[in-house]
Amino acid sequence: MKRSDYLILSFSITGIIFCILLSYIFINKESTFILAVFNLLFITLTFPLDGKLIYKTCLLLLGNIVGAFLNYFFLLFTFLGIYCLGEFFNIICAILNPFANLVWIVSFWSISLAFLANSKKEGKDKI
């Protein structure tokens, strides 16, 4: 690996830790839990696949950013709903939250795998 790759790698890992910490402090425990599950699945199942480590780490960072942002926006949406519609909206959002997380985890997972598969194919084509 080049020195720049090491830099990107350390930046990505720092970013991932940062996302998890931010989700714990500013969002809620559920979002931290979801990010932890996402990271576990991604690291153990995607990292052994063919492809550059740098790509996979960047994808993982991107996933954490997407997850943290979506959970943060969902929280803001919940606050807005409670302000306009009352406490009942909080319950609705609490029930819907897992399904919102489902959508991004599975979609991001399939996009990441498609990206890795395409980059592998392109690599072969170049050879």
Binding site: P48, I91, I95, N97, F99, I105, V106, S110, L113
Partner: protein, 427 residues
Amino acid sequence: MIAEILKALFILLTVLMIAYLGRHYIFTLTVLKNSQKRKKDANAENIVYQPFVSILIPARNEERVIGRILQRMTKLTYPKDKTQIIVINDGSTDNTGIIAEEYAKVQSHITVVHRNKEEAGNGKAAALNAGFKYAKGEIVFCFDADYYPQRNILEKLVKEFTDPKVGAVQGRVVVLNEPQNMVTRLVTLERIGGYRVDQKARDSLGLIPQFGGTVGGLRRSLLECLGGWDESILAEDTDLTFRVYLAGYRIRYVYDAECYEEAVESWRAYWRQRYRWAKGHMQCAFKYMFKILKSGNLTLKEKIDGSLLLNVYFMPIFVLFSWIIGIPLFLSHPPQWLSISWAFMPIFLYSFVGNFAPFFEVGIGAYLDGRNRALWLIPLLIFAFLYNIPICTKALLDLAVSKITRKKNNYWAKTYHSGNGNTYIIN
């Protein structure tokens, strides 16, 4: 008091789901690990073991596809003088019997067994038993009429029988008409999860690979001892899987023995097929659950995997049940543990997508298969999963009613095959 019971039930369901999730996670890791190893058993290809084999092809109103499989059967590389092909024309009202007879006239190793209207139409197991009476082979294979095997599939499957402990083999099912529509594409993903990862991992880990009732074979001697196929069970393949294991034999899954199937093309056909599978699987669960736990012929890990396999069609119902219990529990001031398990709900939900493979398992299977375009469709498997909830619930309710009323209602809903798969075969 009621709240406490509901909490206990919710915890129980959560534990069950985690067990299934863990199982599939281990399967995916196993296949990933194995995919990086080079094939060690390359010498197995050199084993020359060519017993006389019989191939049973049950067919009921399959005029659109029967010619395709018979044509393919004549092209198999396995010696013709060691092959007997038996087409069981199960009271067809179309030209299935005529087409099969035309092939039998030209190919001496093809035999057609005609069943009249009185005895026909009682399901695949009955048709297979009728054909089995004429089988002379040491190994008996089954292929559905809509299938299209690799030319050297028999060599690949037969070689596993050199191990005397092997009672049955199963090959891989690949969807032929994948590009046809969204249903066939989603079925393809389910098949990838099931055959590329699930079955392969179960075989590698020494668990219970399932005999799928097609693209597979059994020792004739074993089949005779077991009394053939059980006609009272809708999932005759699952039934046979457990009878093979209870008899002390093993099933091997041969991943590279591929056979192409024509997948169902509409949601209605999907319902009919999955309803039959679900009801049949549940029948097997009631029949074998305690037998496998008590059996001395199964190892502990086989018992655990067998129990999970037997109960897999109950899981969509349990997921539904966990939502029904979970929401009121969550609304009534949830304790911390409940909000965490609620957060786990999406993962649980996707654990039971479609053919009961979680999204990560399907994804890794599609990646390893090089199915890059199929990867984009994984999020849509949610529809197949949601569809499976009423299917499995209805199957369980119908089974419960038939148990209570003691009326056997095992109507075999035949899957219609349009023959559209022919378009995707390059001759």
